[in-house]
Amino acid sequence: MMGTLEAGPVQLAPVAQTETDIGAAAHAARRRRATWLWIARIVLPVIVIGGWQLSTATGVVDKFFFGQPTAVWTALVELFTKGTAFGSIWSNLWVTIKEAILGFGLGTVAGVVLGLLLGQNRFLSEVCSPYIKALNSVPRIILGSIFVVAFGLGTFPKVLLAAVLVFFIVFFNAFQGVREVDQNLIANVRVLGASPLQVARHVTVPSALSWIIASLHTAFGFAIIGALVGEVLGSQAGIGLIITQAQGHFDPNTVFACMVLMAVVTLAAEYLLTMLEKRVLSWRPPNKSEAQAI
């Protein structure tokens, strides 16, 4: 304590506002906000799922058509303990995941290769652009029917359908990524003597990469949709088949249970893709990816 200061006749600020005090206050405010955030996050699904449970239990909503949260849980447990009519849930889950991953891989490779190619070649892109636009406006999910008819009930038609859905998302992003390349950078490496291949390796591909990786999040969701729809249209195994069968038996609870399962799979894939993104795009300024937090 400094006696000379305290002896002064006027003391304007009774609260000592040191930097540590302000820091502690800000810290406490942040903690309070985090607590409320989590409380709200927990309350929200409790209201939604609890409301669903309540309204079906009281008969306001018919649980025969709309299912019931507790029954969905029972169906989920049964899927794992009793298995399904088509073998264990694990083997069916693996079938669907395999189809989605293969379709995802195929669609991504095709989308990236074609996107980079057309993005760099003006003539080629002008030749192809009306056809790509036309194909993109086709409701591609219908292609699933043709694939099932043409290629049977096996894995391949589902992979193909997933790949078609994935392709367009990745393609447009890769294409745009190449188009957004900083022309100064290209001029720079060209005067330094870069060959067209070196321009691609050092400038075009890395620049397009952030666009491509951003598109993969959406693309994986579409790969799952492709695999499931393919299975619903006709298959001998997979989550889509379980869904169709449950639909036939008027069993909404099993359908919801399958939805939950696939959501978990997609979330896991999302997590892996985010890890990949963080690794590959570690150079990016942190504020840029904040928008993707949601």
Binding site: N184, L185, R190, V191, P196, H202, S207, W283, R284, P285
Partner: protein, 286 residues
């Protein structure tokens, strides 16, 4: 686009850039573009001047007078519609060898570290990785960025990014340095520091420099010769020799010298008309 960037496929295997500076000769250089509406637009017309080997030549002119177009021709990235460019006695046909660019925007690879950005020159030249790394580290030390090798461009200040760009442009010891308003986006203090550093590095390497700027003070402080360009179509109006002694030292201090102010006044008298004319045109067009 009229005949643009089709020459890379025909580029011969590149000899390693010689460190001897080269004479740049422009003779009757004309460049026309086809605008999106299909009209021809003459960006520069009959531009003739010579930059002696090792000379620092600045081009000053109003906005949109074709200064950047002229640079594009010298680099060989764009093709002339008429006239010729010779570098070191050789006609430019395809990308000129031994040239480095510096732009107003940093033109750094955002996904490469500072070291990776500076290494790109020797890497493209075919140097081994170890060579490239040690050379890049040496250059980072020369521009005062030792210890920042692992940072990414977005983690640096504007001035530091300019230093990286400068190291990346000079690491291959180019015979020609083309600079398109390199310090245009910097604040006044940083600009002065970077100008002084550029002069220091240029005096060590002595490449021929073609330096484009709006800033007359900058042109007079740095250059051996200042060319005034008129607008639409761009032509060279006048040429001034700057006889300030070298080495010039601190750029901030040259500005107060008597000879600097004389030259600056002289050139401004010539430039003023052009600037006013260009401005009047933009006002009437708006």
């Amino acid at each position: 686009m009229a005949g643009k960037q089709q020459n890379s496929a025909t580029a011969a295997p590149r000899p390693s850039p010689s460190t001897t500076p080269a004479r740049i000769e422009l003779t009757g250089l004309t460049k026309r573009y086809i605008t999106p509406t299909g009209e021809a637009f003459t960006a520069i017309q009959d531009v003739t001047f010579t930059v002696e080997p090792g000379q620092f030549c600045a081009i000053v002119g109003p906005t949109g007078c074709g200064k950047s177009t002229t640079l594009g021709q010298v680099s060989g990235l764009e093709r002339a519609s008429g006239g010729s460019v010779k570098v070191g006695g050789q006609l430019v046909n395809g990308v000129t060898t031994g040239v480095s660019f510096m732009f107003q925007a940093d033109a750094l690879f955002p996904w490469k570290t500072v070291l990776g950005n500076v290494m790109i020159g020797p890497t493209l030249n075919g140097s081994s990785k170890a060579e490239a790394v040690s050379l890049a580290q040496d250059w980072l030390r020369r521009v005062g960025l030792a210890g920042f090798e692992d940072r990414y461009p977005h983690q640096l200040s504007g001035g530091m990014r300019k230093r990286v760009a400068m190291a990346a442009a000079l690491i291959n010891e180019p015979k020609i340095l083309l600079m398109d308003e390199p310090f245009g986006a910097l604040d006044v203090q940083t600009k002065a520091i970077m100008q002084t550093e550029l002069l220091g590095l240029w005096e060590q390497l002595r490449p021929s420099v073609l330096f484009i700027t709006h800033d007359l003070d900058e042109a007079v402080a740095l250059a051996d010769r200042v060319l005034i360009m008129t607008s639409s179509p761009g032509t060279i109006k006048e040429s001034f020799d700057i006889d300030l002694p070298r080495p010039r030292g601190e750029v901030q201090e040259i500005r107060h010298e008597k000879r600097f102010l004389e030259l600056q006044n002289q050139i401004w008298a010539s430039l003023k008309d052009e600037v006013e004319r260009a401005y009047a045109r933009t006002v009437s067009a708006a």
